[in-house]
Structures are given as C-alpha cells and as structure tokens.
C-alpha cells in the first residue's frame, strides 16, 4: 500500500514544491479556502475520527471546534518538539514530506480562523527549521501563504520557532510559555489553549503527524479515512520502532497492526534472535508491558486494545527490550531522563524524580536493599495523581510497572 504520510518513500523529491503539487498537493488547502466554510473543514476532520498523534489521542476535530470565537486573534501551533525517547517520526515527516505537513497546518489555520501560525521545533532541529523556512518561503512565493490567498480575504503566515533543549516543551502549555519567551513550564489547566493559549488568545495545538493527516482526509473524505484502522482508532499511524530490533525505523501502518507484525514482519525481528522480554509502546513515558506470553505480541496496536495489556499506545514509539536486559537498568535510565527533564515547577515531580533517581541508582549499582525497592515503588505511587502535568505522572509508569511486573530483576540487582 502506498504511504499516506511518508509519501517521500514512494515519490522521489516530494519535498520540492513542484513535485508535491504535481501529486495533488495543496489542492485541498486551496479548495478549503475558496470553497468551504471553516466549520465545514472542522466537520470533515471531526467525522474522519482523526485523533491527536502527540500521545494523548484527543479527537482532533473536536479540539478545533472548541476554539473560542469570542476572543481574537486565533493561533495554530504545530508541536514539533518531538522529544519522547523512542519517537522520531515527526522529523522524518518534516524532512521527507514537508509540504503535506505545512498544508495540514494551513488547513487547520483556516478552519479555526488563524492568520498566524507557529511551528515550535525542538532546538536540536536547527537544520530542519532552516529547511522548513525555505519551504515556507517557496509557498509564499507561490501564493499559498501570505495576504489574501487565492483572491479571498483569508491571509496566513507560518513561522518556525526553535526551542532550546527541554523535553517539557512538548507539553502544550509549556510549549506556549516557551514560545512566549519564558521558561517552558506548564500552566495550570483549565483554561485550555482553545480558550486561552498563545499570548492569552485561543490557540489550537496539534502534533506534526496530526496535521500531516489532514490534507489526505480533506482530499479523500472522512469515510475513506475511517475505512482504515480500527473503530476506536481511525486511519494510519507512524510507529517509531527502536531498541533491540534488527531494523529500527518508522513504519506507517494502519491502527490495529499487531506488535508481532511490527517487530517481526517490518522490524526484522529481535537482534541476535533473542526473545522479547518487554515492550514500551509509548517511549520512556510508557508502562513496561510484560511479554511473558507470546500471545501478547498478537495484541493489536490501537488506543483501546493496548490498554487491555496494561499500557498506553501514546505516541506509538515502540521500544523493544529483549531478555538480555535487566529492567532495573531500564528504570534507572528512564528516571534519570525524567529527573533531567523535570521543569521543577511542581514539588511532586521536582522532588519525586530526584528521590527516585537516588533509589534507582543505588539499586542498579548493587548498593540497594529490598527495602529500597519497596520504597521506590512507594515513592512512585505517592507521586501518582499529584503532579501538575503529565511529565511527573509519566515518570512513575516504568517504575511502578517495572517493579510490579519484573520484581525478579530488582531482587537480583539488590542481592548482587
């Protein structure tokens, strides 16, 4: 099947404006602006069942419909802060198929009446930002961005904005703070961005992949999109496969594809032909799914089904862990990540990740005791449900599921 999102894999040079246009590109945006009312655009996206690809899976069309029309101006922001360990899909989209992403962003901007939109890229995507700036300039020169588009009253400018090394800026309100030139710390919600967002104005924030789905949906219709995937999770998803597999990489597949297909059919199986011990389906923020039964690998990857095996699909960043790896090492690794990335705003996460890092390190270094493992589990649970944003909550996932599902590894570590 031809790719819907990673079209550069099928069509050479689709990252040039000419080739993109030759392949039907930008027609959906022009059609929307010249022939549709903004709310009609939102309705199509709503009906398609498209859900946010950043991890939370919130219905995209519904989010757009929440935009507060009593307050103006409106903004649309593309979240290109891709920083979840194990996630590397947005980068490939923007490098390979940039115009489809930009077109999706433009359509979203039209749908919610934004005349200025920002792409917030993680600071490391320095070269990519320059590349996108060129693409945006080409679109402007070709009349697809700028003042009074296609002879209508609608105007749109798109700007890139680079972050500077802070995982937390992937959290949408922290991203807004950062875009406003402040420390990237999450805001208290509510109010949510569709009512109070960038510069205090109504703002829609979506992930790069989410926007990239929009042009084909507008072109082919909601029903076409819904025909792919599962009832709960419509369409296709880019699965970022990493860890101990032979062929790591991005795989665009319909929702409902099984872990086995992803790992073995596409990923070439586990390195050194070892067996899968655990899967983190949503990067470092995941629960550790225990693969003690081959049947687990036959679980369909969609939002609802992954939940039945004790995990969340999130951003579909599938990290494969084989039986050579001890889970206490994994947990130590994730906790050090979260401790490093904790913004420090709320007590729970700031102190909790710090405390947990002391414990995981002690356990992993072989200086820990059984009591330390129990305390670690207890501290993680004490954090749960009490953090200001999801980062702190996610930091506990690997700890709690790791200890509860792989206790043996920890017992071994403290004995050794």
């Amino acid at each position: 099947m031809a790719h819907i999102l990673l079209r550069h894999r099928d069509i050479p040079d689709i990252n040039t404006l000419n080739v993109y246009k030759k392949n039907g590109g930008l027609a959906a945006f022009k059609n929307a602006v010249t022939k549709m009312q903004p709310n009609e655009v939102t309705d199509v996206v709503k009906n398609s069942g498209l859900r946010g690809r950043g991890g939370a899976g919130f219905p995209t069309g519904m989010k757009w419909s929440f935009i507060d029309n009593k307050s103006w101006p409106h903004y649309v922001v593309a979240n290109a802060d891709e920083s979840e360990p194990g996630t590397f899909k947005d980068r490939e989209i923007m490098e390979g198929n940039p115009f489809q992403f930009l077109e999706g962003l433009a359509i979203a901007s039209y749908a919610v009446g934004a005349n200025a939109s920002y792409i917030y890229l993680r600071g490391e995507f320095w070269e990519l930002a320059a590349f996108l700036d060129e693409k945006i300039a080409e679109m402007e020169a070709d009349g697809y961005l700028g003042e009074k588009l296609f002879g209508t009253d609608y105007s749109l400018k798109i700007y890139t904005h680079l972050g500077a090394g802070a995982y937390i800026c992937g959290e949408e309100t922290a991203l807004l703070e950062s875009l406003e030139g402040k420390r990237g710390q999450p805001r208290v919600r509510p109010p949510f961005p569709p009512s109070v967002g960038l510069y205090g104005k109504p703002t829609i924030i979506n992930n790069v992949e989410t926007f990239t789905n929009v042009p084909p949906i507008m072109t082919n219709g909601a029903d076409w999109y819904k025909s792919m995937g599962t009832a709960d999770s419509a369409g296709v998803k880019i699965f970022s496969l990493s860890g101990r597999v032979r062929k790591p990489g991005n795989y665009e597949l319909p929702f409902g594809t099984t872990f086995r297909e992803l790992i073995y059919t596409y990923g070439g199986g586990v390195q050194d032909s070892r067996s899968v011990k655990a899967i983190m389906p949503a990067g470092a923020s995941s629960s550790l799914i225990l693969v003690d039964d081959e049947k687990i690998l036959d679980t369909k990857m969609d939002y609802a089904t992954v939940r039945t095996i004790g995990g969340d699909l999130g951003s579909a960043s599938v990290i494969v862990i084989d039986d050579t790896v001890s889970i206490d090492w994994i947990v130590n690794k994730t906790i050090h990540f979260f401790r490093h990335e904790s913004c420090g705003k709320c007590t729970t996460c700031r102190e909790g990740t710090y405390w947990m890092s002391h414990l995981t390190e002690r356990i992993h270094d072989g200086h820990g005791s059984t009591a330390d493992v129990d305390l670690l589990l207890n501290v993680a649970k004490q954090m749960q449900g009490k953090c200001l944003c999801a980062l702190g909550e996610f930091s506990t996932m690997a700890v709690v599921t790791g200890i509860e599902r792989f206790r043996k590894d920890f017992d071994k570590a403290v004995k050794a």
Binding site: E124, L162, P248
Partner: protein, 168 residues
C-alpha cells in the same frame, strides 16, 4: 558591540516573526544569535537582549538557565553531544561513548586539551533508529551525525580541528 549593531538584519528578521507587543517571544532566537560566535551567552549579550525585548537581565538569565542548548560558560568550540538515552543505550550508545572517551582522552563533560571539542552526554535527540548518534553544537548551529562508529567520529573530530586550523 551590541547585538543590534552586529546583526541588524537578523535582529529585525527575528522580531518580525512575532506580534509587536509580544517582543518577548524573540528572546530565544536572539539567544542563539548571541551564542553564535563564542558558543555561550555573556553578560553583555544578556543585557543587550533584555533591552531589545524589554525584559530584565534576570529574566533573560532565567531562560538561559532553563534550556540546555544555551550556555553561560565557555566550553570547547564544538560541543559533541552524544545521546545516551534509553533507546540509543539499547543500541550500544554507552559503549560508544566509553570508547570515544578513551580515544579522545577526556571524560564526559571535559574538553580536549586544544579547547576544540567538549564531550557531553545528552537525552533523546529523536534519532533512536540511527544510534549511535550525536549532534555537534558549534558556531554554525547544530548538526546531526547518525549511525556513527568510533572511527568515523574520530575522523570527524580530525576534520573539525583541521578546519579550525585552516581558518586561523
């Protein structure tokens, strides 16, 4: 020389991205600009930026302190930032780093004796499928180097150093 005097075009272009009453948004791109030459933001540059976007110097410093890609201290001309985060570590990033340290004769966080390369361990860079990998933060911005081996890396270091030598 002040930032505005040194980079008038760039400053203007950066400010043009944001609504005039939201100048503060420009603080991050301006910090990159200020960091361009010396690899870190000095006090004078912070004062400069504070003035341009109408916030205090303390506000600027608070931003420099929050984000890992801004530096307030001088290091090597090139910061080699190796990802040793979970997915990369599952693909040998830690061994790669260790070997690199051995070959360069420095520890993580240290700079080569010639002051050219500082070796740093960083969190995920969104290139998990191409580990081992690192980025180099230098005067020309940030560049990714993926699917790296120690040999390829040492060659790169050599090239970087020669390039500098040539420029001198």
């Amino acid at each position: 020389m002040s930032l505005v005097k040194k980079y008038p075009k760039e400053v203007k272009q950066i400010l043009s991205k944001y609504p005039p009453e939201q100048k503060r948004s420009a603080v991050m791109p301006l910090l990159y600009l200020a960091q361009r030459e010396e690899g870190y933001v000095n006090k004078a540059a912070m004062q400069d930026i504070a003035k341009i976007v109408d916030i205090t110097e303390t506000d600027v410093a608070a931003i420099v302190g929050f984000y890992t890609l801004y530096h307030d201290e001088k290091a090597g001309k090139y910061r080699m930032q190796v990802c040793t985060d979970l997915p990369c570590a599952l693909r040998g990033a830690e061994q790669f780093m260790e070997s690199l340290c051995g070959n360069l004769g420095i520890k993580v966080g240290e700079t080569t004796p010639d002051g050219e390369v500082t070796l740093e361990a960083v969190t995920c860079l969104a290139a998990c499928d191409k580990a081992p990998m690192f980025q180099i933060q230098g005067p020309d911005g940030i560049k990714y180097h993926e699917n790296m081996t120690v040999d390829k890396t040492l060659e790169l270091v050599h090239t970087l150093k020669n390039a500098i030598g040539g420029r001198k």
